[in-house]
């Protein structure tokens, strides 16, 4: 039982990171029909902003802050202005392909200008183990889960309890009506991109001490989060959160109790099952589009 609980907590920690990344998929899709295939690389990149700041002499806390700010500017604002806005008017597919190209560009740039090798990454949370009710739990795993939950709660509070959040939701539901009501739709869409920049920055700070900072790390993370978003429901933030946690826990339990060899297939089995039985995702809503 103790081992089971340790596995669930470790799975929750991995799942929490997937969830943060998956929320970004969901946010961008809802507000601007953007599927960002560079989302994994968006998580990889802030780690290198932080390492560059550390190498320049900044203490870790300041470097982390710098990393978050740069993420919001480059991966939020500049991403929207320089790539999404010019491409979106040509349709969703050209934009999706453009984000694929962006993912390759980001990967290769980090490899070229920083290093092809993995780099160690400092952590705010010590890697010690604590005993709790007979269960041995890593403080780092607990910390990752708590930070991720706090981030999600803050986001939910912003969306549900502030005028800006409600305007953002209105834009997501029907941008034309929102515009008639005087809501600055473009600005609200920009806010979602800035939020995505912040979320991937936080995810990067959480995952890099465990997964190491490496130019290629976004591939695995991006794919897992994309699957999590589909499994949970691409058009619902709570779906993305649930999908992330489900994937993290299922992966760990399958590896421990079924087979380590076939653990990689678990997310894909989940994906197939959801597409066959509930195409809108576990918590998503069915959407119809006129073609």
């Amino acid at each position: 039982m103790a081992s089971f609980m340790s596995l669930v907590i470790a799975g929750l920690a991995t799942g929490a990171i997937y969830a943060l990344i998956a929320i970004g998929f969901s946010l961008l899709w809802q507000t601007s029909q953007t599927i960002n295939f560079a989302q994994g690389e968006f998580v990889m990149l802030p780690a290198f902003f932080v390492l560059a700041a550390i190498n320049a002499g900044a203490p870790f806390w300041l470097a982390a802050l710098i990393g978050l700010v740069i993420s919001v500017i480059i991966l939020g604002a500049m991403f929207k202005r320089l790539l999404v806005d010019p491409m979106l008017r040509h349709g969703v597919l050209p934009l999706a392909i453009a984000t694929m190209a962006l993912s390759i560009f980001l990967r290769e740039s980090v490899k070229e200008f920083y290093s092809a090798e993995a780099s160690p990454f400092p952590s705010f949370i010590p890697g010690t183990t604590i005993g709790f009710a007979g269960i041995s739990v890593s403080l780092q795993h607990v910390g990752v889960v708590l930070v991720a939950i706090a981030s999600v709660m803050a986001l939910t509070a912003l969306l549900d309890r502030t005028p800006i959040g409600r305007q953002m939701q209105a834009c997501a539901q029907n941008p034309d009506v929102a515009r008639i009501l005087g809501i600055p739709v473009e600005r609200m869409i920009m806010y979602t991109f800035l939020i995505n920049g912040l979320l991937v920055g936080i995810a990067s700070l959480l995952v890099s001490p465990i997964y190491l900072a490496k130019f290629s790390s976004g591939e695995t993370l991006g794919l897992a989060a994309f699957i999590a978003a589909i499994v949970g429901g691409f058009n619902r933030i709570r779906g993305a959160i649930a999908g992330g946690f489900l994937l993290g826990i299922a992966d760990n339990l399958a590896a421990a109790y079924v087979s380590t060899q076939y653990r990689g297939a678990v997310p894909l089995f989940l994906l197939i099952a959801v597409i066959l039985l509930r195409p809108q995702g576990l918590f998503g809503k069915a959407e119809e589009r006129t073609v």
Binding site: T14, S136, S138, N252
Partner: protein, 383 residues
Amino acid sequence: MNKRHPFNRWLIVGAFAACLAAPAGAQDAVKLISVGELSGGGATVGTNFKNGADLAIAEINAKGGILGKKIEVTHYDSQSNPGVARGLIQRAIDEKPYAILGPGFSGSVKVTAQLTSDAGIAQVMGGEAAELTRLGMKTLFRTSFGQQSSMPKIAAYLVDEVKVKSVSMVWVNNDFGKGGRDTLSKELQARGIKIAADISTEAGQVDFAADVAKVKAAGADAVFVYLNEEESARILKEIRKADIKVPLIGETTLLGQKVIELAGEAANGVRGHVGLTTDAPVPAIQEFRKTFVTRYNYVPDHNGIKGYLSIYMIKAASEKMGKLDAKGLPDALKNLTILASKEPGILMDVTIDENGDLDRDSFLGEVVHGKQQITKILPKLKK
């Protein structure tokens, strides 16, 4: 108006002659082509190998080259992908090199060895999987021990020095990991050691919590960890989090410099057998380390030594032939003993056998306070 100026004609003739002369000049050099893991999961392996090879080439060229000819090397990136490696090796063969260096991953070596063997070109590589030199290839040469040499030493170490009765094995599910796991399993079973858990992992795996939970549940006397460098570092961190106290034993990929850098304190206490290490108490290796650090500003792992040695192996075999004969190079490398007293670049005396396997000194080591310490030197098997 249409009449060409005679000067132009001479200019064209001169340029054409220069073009013809360029390849002739290139043939005056010893042309090597390296195919390695410069990106992807094996970037640590390939980058170290490349840098080591480049260092040796710079040293040899500074002293006049091999038999008076300068070495020229072209590096291709396999992206740690065996399919890409195969394509690049074919391209390298088409460019008619004197010898081919790499790849470093056993899986990539396995799918390329037939090509170099058919072409009769020496392939001096970094793979360690036992089966590589049992495939019947005539032109394949190692730069480090194969698993058939290193695993018996680890088994003996586990039994004689760590004195275990049971072992949990964690290995990466690729040619390298599976080869090591198969070879060590046989050796342990022959010595009556129980394998308490047999856990395969994937390269690039995000979460090792489940694997470590299995290790903990198995309760073996020691854990044998046989993954690539980055995964080794990550699982060491996870093992420390799970508070597992039994000895962690491995091969060079567990005690390497990169693993220590990435794992930090979690690497302390790790023990095992290392075929090549820059921490070896061998003056020539210490000198190599110093030169490497000066040039690249980091401490190389064993792959850096492999790349370095590959060039000096080719140099020694060429000097044995007394000529630069690409087709004769594989035969010259076979059954060759290179003495460090005569060729200091080879760092330690080494004998290359008929199959391309090596015999030389190796080491037992332990990571103490973030540094690898050599605790014992194991002599060559055949004197």
